[in-house]
Symmetry: C2
Subunit: 319 residues, 2 copies
């Protein structure tokens, strides 16, 4: 029987893991809450636990597993298997690969979760055969991964591309990282929610305000819904948001000149019309557009993107 | 005798060419005015002419030449030997490699001049052994080249990195390319001169204004000189300029996480103190700085950077 690969998506809320075959089919999967409150040792134990239970609980042995991949949010030395900083899971200088393989003696690789997601798209959902792929995730922050010729671009020491921290407004909003005008201060779902909130304060009688009141909360969907219902305040929020996201996409298009930029994360569920608006904005930013177009598309791997991305790390490391 | 490589730096004013050995020594060189006014056929004839005169004029034959490399400003399909658009030399859709090799039957490669310059630094001036190098040229515009593991990163169809057209100010200055807030609208020597001019209009009694009057012109050096003499207006221009250049450097540091960003072009001659200011600004922008530092240094190949970059293209294509 051909080997399976174990992909582990280590998040701040849940750890999700799956046994995946080379074609990207998830054969078994499992999920547990992350014990962030109990410290990094407890989280490492969670990861070891879910790995062992997936393997042995399904009647397999280590011999049946080709390799293990982990996608982890934060700053990572992928080459050394070391998590420099991951605020979401409370890791600081944790040699996760060493700690994990003491318990689970299998070839193990890690990378930033957005890098892993980009690799997952390249390995499992790339029927077009793209060689240059940039993936962006619009969520709590803005993550990004770059895959060139089937390999993650990860820069010096494997630290990786931090595209969410490029400045798109050098006199703009101050970011948690200390830099000014970081893209994620404008393009993340968090920023969209804050901008929606500000617009509601400004236009308390708008449909936008009404929808928020009806739902009892403001989400990344509130302004989109208001816009669809013809509300001016909602349309203004979305117009700005398209500019915010699109400016960064235009930058990545000019800097990497990829064949495609894939949009992932919760906001990408909004639908094709939103992707089309981003495509149009990106086209306007693209230098010498006729030389090579850059497509903007929705990422294809949806709910299991984290597991599949991590499994792709495992598969690629055995090549 | 080991072969020589012919590097041709095709500029809007001059075409410079040199026969270069593998160690980066220029054995013979020559330069002619570019016949831009006479059209692209005349410029191609110029390039052929200087190539032949360098080879045969120095008693060599085609057998003594390993390959030819050309650095050309503008938008290039390096893979296909085609110049899409080069406003400086009046080329549009010129299959320069095909036209050149009809006359000079040698292996010939082309690339954008900033890409070539970056490769030249990597091949001839990289005693540190950097694997990840970004080179920026601050001149009429802002050019950039990225070299990863000794190879130019050139994206889809070899169109290349257009880092000067990333937006650093999404509500900012409109660029000739149609995009808004392009880095080169702030960080080029052209922009520095325009900003100096604006400051002089605002502060007509400043030392800055006095220096411009004394010289009978405003250059990229005017504000630097005023600042050194203690002038407030000059200091303000330079403070802004460091922010403008530094914001883009910070973006490239976060996006590529290179080991080094090299600064070339006329403005880089200002001196180490200017480079130090850029280093400091870049450090402030760098995400998770402790994970991997990004050095900012002056490019090492000076006047002959164009020829050596083009020669590096030729040498690398024969590997």
């Amino acid at each position: 029987m051909s080997k399976l690969y174990l992909g582990i998506d280590v998040g701040g809320t849940n750890i999700k893991a799956g046994l995946v075959d080379k074609a990207g089919n998830i054969v078994h999967k499992d999920s547990i809450k992350t014990s962030v409150d109990k410290g990094s040792q407890a989280v490492v134990a969670d990861i070891v636990g879910i790995a062992k239970s997936l393997i042995f609980g399904n009647g397999l042995s280590y011999a049946g597993i080709g390799a293990v991949g982990m996608g982890i949010p934060g700053s990572i030395y992928s080459n050394e298997g070391l998590v420099i900083d991951s605020y979401n899971i409370g890791f600081s200088m944790v040699p996760i690969v060493e700690l994990f393989t003491q318990e689970v003696p299998l070839p193990t690789v890690i990378d930033n979760d957005a890098n892993a997601a980009a690799l997952g798209e390249a390995v499992f959902a790339n029927k077009e055969g793209y060689k240059y792929i940039v993936l962006i995730t619009l969520g709590t922050g803005v993550g990004g991964g770059v895959v060139i010729d089937g390999k993650i671009y990860s820069g010096n020491k494997g630290v990786g591309a931090e595209v969410g921290h490029m400045s798109v407004m050098m006199d703009g909003r101050v970011c948690n990282c200390g830099n000014i005008g970081c893209w994620e201060q404008y393009a993340s779902a968090t920023a969209l929610i804050a901008d929606t909130k500000a617009k509601i304060a400004e236009c308390p009688n708008s449909k936008l305000a009404e929808i928020a009141k009806r739902d009892g909360k403001i989400t990344a969907r509130t302004a989109f819904e208001a816009r669809r219902s013809g509300d001016k305040a909602g349309a203004e929020v979305i117009e700005d948001y398209v500019k915010y996201v699109g400016t960064g996409l235009g930058n990545l298009a000019n800097i990497f000149r990829p064949e495609v930029i894939l949009i992932g994360g919760g906001v990408s569920n909004e639908g094709e019309y939103f992707i089309d608006m981003l495509q149009e904005y990106t086209n306007r930013c693209l230098y010498s557009a006729k030389a090579a177009a850059v497509k903007v598309k929705r990422a294809k791997l949806l709910n299991d993107a984290g597991i599949l991305g991590a499994a792709a790390l495992a598969i690629e490391c055995r090549k």
